[in-house]
């Protein structure tokens, strides 16, 4: 038994565990410092539960408000929670739905929250504000004095983009910040009309100085007629009429975008309608359902003004609103997936799976440390169970996502990460069943944890709802199923190959293996190379056939296609070199590890090139993580190379 070798392995395992734990905790904890928001009180759980399932149309599909909130907060804040010090000095963690509810119903609180993430302090300095750290969060109230300057800057950058000019990173960030501010203003001002109504000029004998928008909408026919008479007579309309028109215009403008709350009338298309459009359509007489429109606006007014009476009263109005919209959406067959999606966000299965896999890592280390003892057998059993449990916890959310999206589980880069995590664990378990060496079940939780963390970081960085529908060219469930899934399974098989090869290199170089284990691993790696080749070749050619069938070209030299071809060629080269006797054990190990580099190039690197059909428009600054991966693989290759050389030297 090589004690030092074992302890090196333990140290590597624990270092990996600490790295994953660190990344997970960084991902989970709020991304900004605690800010004081005077008098802030958290929303009651029952209110949030009720609000979560309100259907809205966003990103081309109907989704629950909780999904909408989640990605809007990611887009603006860069993470899914923030902390504020509220009433009585209590620290409150504000999550997406609560944050959105504050924007909509308590904008005075929302204005003080550190909503806007600014990655480069130059951006705030450029608009005349005092910057804090290089990367920090700012509230709307803090940005307010500089908004004019920010919008001017953004307009000039927008013009540059229109003229096909590339923006510098800090210019792009200023433009993004301005866009985020517009989104925030759209949300926080959305219900201003419902709270404030239409301001009327004071008139002697009339106490009323404000009218509800819904009440003004109800007078639309009279209002139109009066205005028309005035214009025809060449007279100026009465001041109260002019005030009503101005107030309605204001209401339309502030509530026209970002939140599409109401299903359209039957036969009126598929686009849901915002509050602003509801108001405008009634006034312009362009709706088939004026009464429903007025009722909808009335509901929003009652909802927006119910909060001062307490959350219970608010819930009453919210419940009515949700029921009304859900019933109408249901009649159109559009809200069926909303409860499923609410449940998807309620229980974070990926996080649970991550916890299980992370918890399995110390057991894996113990299992390996204990050699062939009874303790090792027991821990191996537990690790087996944890792998299976983790796998189930990955299968559940992936299945849910697939049901929600009504398409195969892989359609974008985020989907590939979680699917590969699932495929990796499944494949590792199958290999373990075949070789029973406690290697595959040992590496599975580590790689799965890494991939889940990667998926979480990617989702936060991308800040897009990856369940939104695919562009026209990808709308083909048949081809998505057979081409994309095969390719992605090829990636998973290639990664299994590389990880088994890394394990083999470590075990052999640290003298922790025996001939039998060595032989088993070697055969497993060889089998995995064959499987990777099979899946990659079939997946690549299927992609070509799809491209030929749909766009008339079998091969377009798109970087993603080339990447897949490189995986095929690399595995072919390994098999031919092996069959010809040009590489033996060490050659197979090292070539298989290099296979991970080829897969990373195909899976991730080509997205940074900015060309081709599969280009996802990645920011160049994220390439550092990929370089770190290449460096890690380079490290293993170097380790393996030195070990192979030493073994050869010792033998000769």
């Amino acid at each position: 038994m090589n004690r030092i070798g074992r302890w090196i392995l333990v140290a590597l395992g624990m270092a990996f565990l600490l790295l994953m734990l660190g990344l997970t905790l960084r991902d989970l904890r709020p991304d900004s410092e605690v800010r004081v928001v005077e008098g802030y009180t958290p929303w009651e759980e029952a209110t949030l539960e009720l609000a979560a399932g309100v259907p809205v149309q966003d990103g081309g599909r109907v989704k629950p408000l909780v999904s909408f909130a989640s990605f809007k907060m990611l887009q603006l804040h860069g993470s899914r929670s923030l902390k504020v010090e509220g009433e009585g000095g209590a620290t409150v963690k504000v999550e997406p739905l609560a944050w959105l509810m504050d924007c909509l119903f308590r904008p005075d609180f929302a204005d003080q929250m550190p909503t806007f993430r600014v990655d480069n302090s130059k951006v705030v300095e450029a608009v005349g504000l005092e910057a804090r750290g290089k990367r920090d969060h700012y509230s709307y109230a803090e940005l307010r004095p500089a908004l004019g300057q920010l919008m001017e800057l953004a307009a000039s950058y927008e013009a540059m983009v229109q003229n096909d000019r590339t923006l510098e990173p800090d210019q792009q960030q200023a433009l993004d910040l301005a866009r985020n501010v517009q989104v925030y203003e759209g949300l926080s001002g959305y219900l201003d009309f419902a709270r404030g109504g239409v301001v009327l000029p004071r008139k002697e004998g009339i106490d009323l100085d404000r009218a509800k928008v819904s009440a003004v909408m109800a007078t639309a026919p009279l209002l139109r007629e009066s205005l028309s008479r005035s214009y025809q007579a060449g007279e100026t309309p009465r001041p109260e009429l002019e005030a009503m028109v101005a107030g309605l215009n204001q209401a339309v403008q502030t509530s026209k975008f970002f939140l599409y709350l109401f299903p359209p009338a039957d036969g009126a298309g598929v686009e849901w309608i915002s509050a602003g459009d509801r108001i405008w359509n009634v006034m312009a007489k362009t709706t088939r359902e004026p009464e429903q429109s007025i009722d909808d606006i009335k509901m929003l007014e009652e909802l927006a003004t119910a909060l001062p009476e307490g959350e219970e009263a608010f819930r009453g109005e919210l419940g009515e609103f949700r029921e009304s919209v859900t019933t109408r959406a249901g009649a159109r067959g559009e809200a069926e997936k909303v409860p499923l999606e609410v449940s998807y966000y309620e229980r974070d299965w990926f996080l649970l799976a991550l916890v299980v896999f992370l918890a399995a890592i110390p057991l894996v280390v113990a299992m390996w440390l204990a050699g062939g003892s009874r303790f090792s057998r027991i821990t191996a059993g537990i690790v087996w169970l944890m792998n299976v449990a983790g796998l189930v916890m990955l299968v559940i959310p992936i299945t849910k996502r697939s049901l929600i999206m009504e398409r195969p589980p892989v359609g974008n880069l985020y989907d590939t990460i979680i699917f590969i995590a699932m495929a990796f664990v499944a494949l590792a378990l199958v290999i373990e069943l075949m070789i029973r060496r406690r290697v595959a079940i040992g590496v599975a939780p580590m790689v799965a944890a890494f991939l889940i963390v990667l998926a979480r970081l990617f989702e936060v960085g991308d800040a897009k709802d990856h369940m939104d529908p695919l562009v026209a060219v990808l709308v083909s469930n048949f081809w998505l199923t057979i081409h994309v899934i095969t390719i992605v399974l090829g990636y998973a098989a290639g990664l299994v190959t590389a990880v088994l090869a890394i394990a083999a290199v470590l075990l052999r170089s640290l003298r922790l293996d025996d001939k039998s284990l060595r032989r088993s691993l070697l055969r497993a790696i060889y089998g995995c190379v064959c499987l990777t080749l099979f899946l990659s070749l079939v997946g690549t050619v299927l992609g070509g056939i799809w491209a030929n069938y749909s766009w008339g070209r079998f091969w377009g030299w798109d970087p993603k296609e080339n990447g897949a071809l490189m995986i095929v060629l690399w595995n072919l080269a390994i098999l031919h070199a092996r069959a010809g006797g040009y590489i033996r054990d060490w050659g197979l190990y090292l070539a298989s590890i290099f296979g991970a580099v080829v897969i990373a190039f195909s899976w991730w690197h080509v997205n940074f090139l900015g060309v081709g059909l599969h280009n996802y428009g990645f920011a160049a600054d994220k390439i550092g993580a990929l370089m770190a991966f290449y460096a890690a693989m380079g490290g293993f290759l170097l380790w393996g190379g030195v070990a192979a050389w030493r073994e050869r030297a010792a033998r000769s």
Binding site: C530, F534, G552, A577, V611
Partner: protein, 401 residues
């Protein structure tokens, strides 16, 4: 018998069909693919493919610009051209993977996989030589029976009778002039025309520019106050607009030079033998054996977004007095008479006319379906081999126990 004792011919065959050569060729192909992938970012897809995989390129010098923008123009050590690597691989695979491979039942999967891949490479070769690709852009209500190449230019010569183009159109295809760089010139005789045409100074991307607005900096000839300004190639080659200088030679006497450019709006008119002719350089057109009328076209977007959901064109195909209504949309092309029409572009109210346009990519490829057949063969072969190996692996495990 050791390798050294074998006759030289056998040793050569052994080398050409060997695993070593196969491995090296596969690695070279991978390296070339990788470099071409990186290089297309800086130089565009078409020029990169021409550099790496054209049959005229025995050697390629990768550009260091593939790794860093600042290194553009620095040449890296040469590699063999991709086309010839594929040809060698084809030979190697035919000899080693089909002819010389031991015909045992255990090798049947490998045999089939090699055959499938060979078939695929052949399909690629046929497509490279025989495929024609163009675009047909129609306004709603418009009819056409031709498609225009996206890349290849051609010179068209036709006669004007009473001010109207009349009769046969004479076409000079790009291989006759796309190599005429600098001072090189070529005279092209066309049957039925009272003159020959001499071509010179071809540029892959150029614009006729008034010498009054800009002086010719590289000594380009000025013709009627204009000269041909060469521009760098676009990264999207279909945006390149080629041009060249030309003059007619009638009765052995050369005429005045003139500019032919795709970017010109009007054809050049010349007179010879008492007849008037129009000459123009255009992106090459080729006939489609039926008429296509665009009845209607529309785009659908996901609600409240500008994310496209579908592009649909309803057309009428007319052929021998038969009319057929066909719907072409994304992922559902029209295949007919050896041609395939794909929905390529959609323009609603664009081009300043307020009308709707639909662009179809028109492809004629005799090896259209071959890759699919090769996939079934190679996939089946690889799958079979994998199962045989897996069965062997599991069997050996059981025997050990």
């Amino acid at each position: 018998m050791s390798n050294r004792q074998k006759p030289p011919a056998n040793r050569v065959i052994g080398f050409i069909s060997g695993m070593g050569l196969a491995t090296v060729l596969i690695l070279l192909l991978m390296l070339l693919t990788w470099l071409a992938t990186l290089e297309q970012v800086a130089f565009g897809l078409f020029p990169t493919l021409r550099k790496y995989f054209d049959f005229r390129e025995l050697w390629v010098f990768p550009d260091a610009g593939a790794f860093n923008e600042e290194w553009v123009g620095r040449r890296l050590p040469p590699l063999p051209g991709g086309y010839w690597v594929c040809v060698l691989l084809l030979v190697n695979m035919t000899l080693g993977g089909l002819i010389r491979l031991r015909k045992r039942w255990r090798n049947i999967g490998v045999l089939l996989a090699h055959f499938g891949i060979l078939f695929m490479i052949v399909a690629g070769g046929v497509a490279q030589w025989k495929e024609e690709r163009g675009v047909m852009v129609l306004k709603e209500g418009e009819t056409a029976d031709w498609a225009r190449s996206l890349i290849d230019p051609a010179i068209e010569i036709f006669e004007f009778v009473d001010g109207e183009p009349t009769g046969e159109v004479h076409v000079i295809r790009s291989p006759y002039f796309d190599d005429l760089k600098g001072e090189r010139r070529r005279k092209v005789d066309l049957e039925g025309l009272p003159f020959a045409i001499e071509l010179q100074g071809y540029q892959a991307n150029a614009r006729p520019v008034s010498a009054k607005s800009r002086a010719p900096a590289q000594g380009q000839p000025v013709v009627d106050g204009f000269f041909l300004l060469g521009l760098p190639s676009e990264t999207q080659t279909e945006r390149d607009l080629p041009g060249c200088y030309a003059r007619i030679v009638a009765d052995g006497t050369p005429g005045e030079p003139f500019i032919l450019a795709v970017a010109s709006y009007q054809p050049m008119t010349v007179e010879a033998g008492g007849r008037r002719f129009g000459i123009q350089m255009v992106k090459q057109t080729w006939p489609v054996p039926f008429e296509v009328t665009l009845e209607s076209t529309h785009a659908e977007y996901y609600p409240n977004t500008r994310r496209p959901k579908s592009f649909v064109s309803d057309i009428v195909r007319r052929e021998d007095d038969n009319e057929v209504e066909v719907r072409i949309q994304m992922n559902e092309p029209m295949r007919h008479a050896g041609m395939t029409f794909f929905q390529r572009d959609f323009n609603e109210g664009g081009m300043g006319t307020g009308a709707k346009f639909s662009g179809f990519e028109v492809v004629r490829n005799p090896s259209d379906k071959w890759p699919e057949y090769s996939l079934w063969i190679a996939g089946f072969g690889l799958g079979l081999h994998f199962i045989i190996k897996l069965a062997g692996f599991l069997g050996s495990g059981r025997r050990k126990k």
